[in-house]
Symmetry: C2
Subunit: 357 residues, 2 copies
C-alpha cells in the first residue's frame, strides 16, 4: 500500500522550514524510486486562526491516517494570551496523546563542522552524541486532576498531577534499552526518587526492565545532578531516559550544549513505529518570513522519519551524508554562521541538500 506522509507546517518559521523538507522528500522519491503521498494539514496557531481550534478534526484524522507526520513548529506571542486549552501547543500535545506517540527521541549531536558554535570548550563537547529518550504522553503534562480552583479563604490555587503507571514506564524504558543496544549500551535513567514517589516507582520499573537487557549498563541519576552533569561532562552519557517534564528541560539543555539547535531533529513514536518528526527548535516568530531560518533540523527529521517510520534506512543515511557535505562546503544559515563560511538563505540551504543527494 502506498504510504502517506502528513505535513503540518504550523506557525512562525514552520512553513519555511517544512517547505525545504518537502523539497527533500520529493527529491528522495525521484532519486530512490520511493513512493508516498504527502498531504498538508493545519495545526497550532495557524489552525486556531483559521478554524478556532489548534487541532482541527481534519488534521487529527489526517495524522491518524498517515504513516508518518512531519511537523514544523507551533506557537508564538500572538497566541500567548489564549486559554491553555486552545493554545497552539495544545495542537501538538493533542496529536502526541491521541496517537500515543509516547517515545520521544531527541539526539544531541555536535557536528564536527560546528564545534565552534558551542558555548562550551571544544574538549568538553567535541564528538558529543547523546540520545535522550523522553516519555511523551504521560506524566504531569497529561495528569488529572488539573486546573485552578478557589479556596475557602477566597484565594486561588493552581494544581497539576504527575502520574505514571508501571506500564507507561515499562514501555519507554524498553525503548531506551533497545536503542542503547544499537549504540553504546549504557542507559542513565533520570528521576527525583529521593523526593517524588512517582519517580521512585519509575526507578523500580526501570530496574525491572533492565533485567531484560543484561548487556546494557544501567545507572540512575537525580534530575538536578543530571542538569549539572550535562554541563560538567556531557560525554559521559550514551542514552538518557526520563519523564515528560524532566525530558523537556534536559533535552533542551543538552541540545544547547551543541550551540546549534537549528541542526537537531526529533522523533515521537508509538508502539508500532508510526511517528511524528520535528525539529527540536521552536517556531522562532522573531525571524519568521525572512528566509533566514535553518531548515537542517527539519531535513534531518526527514532522515529520522525514513529510518523509523518508512523503513528506508539507506536513503536516511544518504540524506544525513548530504547534510554533512553541505556543511563541509561551508554553507551556513545565519544561526550557525562563522567567519570564513558562506552565508545562505533557508531556500538555498534546502536546494544545496537536494543537490548533494
Amino acid at each position: 500500500m502506498r504510504k502517506k506522509v502528513a505535513i503540518l507546517a504550523g506557525d512562525g518559521i514552520g512553513p519555511e522550514i517544512t517547505a525545504e523538507a518537502v523539497k527533500v522528500l520529493t527529491a528522495l522519491q525521484e532519486h530512490w524510486g520511493l513512493d508516498w503521498v504527502m498531504e498538508s494539514g493545519l495545526i497550532g496557531g495557524a489552525a486556531y486562526d483559521a478554524t478556532g481550534t489548534p487541532l482541527p478534526d481534519d488534521t487529527l484524522a489526517l495524522a491518524q491516517d498517515s504513516d508518518a507526520i512531519l511537523l514544523g513548529a507551533v506557537g508564538g506571542p500572538k497566541w500567548e494570551t489564549l486559554d491553555i486549552s486552545i493554545r497552539p501547543e495544545k495542537g501538538l500535545l493533542g496529536i502526541r496523546s491521541a496517537l500515543q506517540l509516547f517515545a520521544n527521541l531527541r539526539p544531541a549531536i555536535l557536528y564536527p563542522q560546528l564545534v565552534g558554535a558551542s558555548t562550551l570548550k571544544p574538549e568538553v563537547v567535541s564528538g558529543l552524541d547523546i540520545m535522550i529518550v523522553r516519555e511523551l504522553t504521560g506524566g504531569i503534562y497529561f495528569g488529572q486532576p488539573r486546573g485552578v480552583q478557589r479556596l475557602e479563604n477566597g484565594e486561588r490555587e493552581g494544581f497539576n498531577t504527575l502520574v505514571y503507571k508501571e506500564s507507561e514506564i515499562r514501555r519507554i524504558a524498553q525503548v531506551a534499552f533497545t536503542i542503547a543496544m544499537k549504540r553504546g549500551r549504557r542507559v542513565c535513567s533520570v528521576d527525583k526518587a529521593n523526593v517524588l514517589e512517582s519517580t521512585e516507582l519509575w526507578r523500580e520499573v526501570v530496574n525491572e526492565v533492565a533485567k531484560e537487557f543484561p548487556e546494557v549498563e544501567l545507572s540512575h541519576m537525580y534530575v538536578d545532578n543530571a542538569a549539572m552533569q550535562l554541563v560538567r561532562a556531557p560525554k559521559q552519557f550514551d542514552v538518557l531516559v526520563t519523564t515528560n517534564m524532566f525530558g523537556d528541560i534536559l533535552s533542551d539543555c543538552a541540545a544547547m550544549l551543541t550551540g546549534s539547535i537549528g541542526m537537531l531533529p526529533s522523533a515521537s513514536l508509538d508502539q508500532s513505529g508510526k511517528g511524528m518528526y520535528e525539529p527540536i527548535h521552536g517556531s522562532a516568530p522573531d525571524i519568521a518570513g525572512q528566509g533566514i531560518a535553518n531548515p537542517l533540523a527539519t531535513i534531518l527529521s526527514v532522515a529520522m522519519m525514513l529510518r523509523y517510520s518508512l523503513n528506508e534506512s539507506a536513503p536516511a543515511t544518504c540524506l544525513e551524508k548530504a547534510v554533512g557535505t553541505v556543511l563541509d562546503r561551508g554553507l551556513r544559515t545565519p544561526d550557525i554562521y562563522s567567519p570564513g563560511m558562506s552565508q545562505v538563505s533557508t531556500g538555498a540551504m534546502g536546494d544545496a541538500v537536494v543537490e548533494a543527494l
Copy 2:
C-alpha cells in the same frame, strides 16, 4: 538576647566542612566581639543511624529555637534503599517545611580567580552573577495527594501533586523583586505556563506583584527555554524566580556553569529573615573523611547567615573578602585546583580563611 546558631553537620563531607565553618564563626566572634552560642544537632543519615529518624524532635526543637541554622549536607548511597519517608533528605525537607523557609536564595557567581574551572568559554561566563530565588516549601515537593497505589488491573501507579496557592507565589515573588531592587533590577520568572495550569497562575500572580515594583523589569520564560538560555548566554540573567522543582534543576545547572560548585553557598529564609544556610553541593560520600573537601561554600554560607539572619553585614563582607584573599594567594582544594596553584586540605583552607580575616 544572645543569638543562637544551630550546627547540623549531616552526612558525608558534612562534618568536615561544617567544622571549618565553625572555626570561622568562632574567629568572627573573637575579632568582632560578636556574641552567639552554637549548638549541634543530628540530621539526615547520621540522625537516622543514631535515632531511627532523619529529623529527631530534639533537632527540630533546636532549629526552631535558633536564629540561624548552618547545615552541612545530607544523604548518601548507604540510605538510598530506605523508604522515602525516612530518608536523610526528609530531614532537610522537614526543617524547610516546619520552619517555613520558603525563600531559597542560590547565587551562581563565578570567582574571577576560578574562571578556568568552568566548562564554558571564558567570554560566556566571566563575571557571571545570577541570583536564583527558588520557592522551597511548596509545589510538587510537598503537594498532596502523593504515593503509589494499585489500580484495578493490578498494576501500580505513582502520583505526586504540583500545587501553588496565590499567597505562596506572591511571597516568593516579593522576595525576588526585593532582591532585584538591590541588584540589577531585572527579574525573570520561569514557568511552564503553556502546559501547566498551576504555573499559569504562577505567571499571573508574578505579574500582579510586579506592579508593586515598577522599577524592576520583569520577563517570563518557559523552563525548557531557561535551561537553554543558561547554557547559551547565562549573563543575560539578574534574578531568576521559579518553583521548587524547576529551581532545584535550574539552580544546579547555573551553579555548574561556574565549574566550581564547591564555592557556592545558599540561604533558605522564612518571612522574618530567620534562615538555614548550606553549601549547594551535596554530601559527596565518595570523598568523605579524606580531608579534601572544599569548605568554602559552607564558609560563604556563614557570610550569607551574617547578612540575612544575624544582621551583621560588615563582618559578612569582611569574610567574603577573606575568601577572595585566600583564592588570590593561590590556595586550592583539589576540586578547584589548577596547575601552578597550591593544593591544600579542607582544614588548611579553613585555617587560611581564619588567618585572612
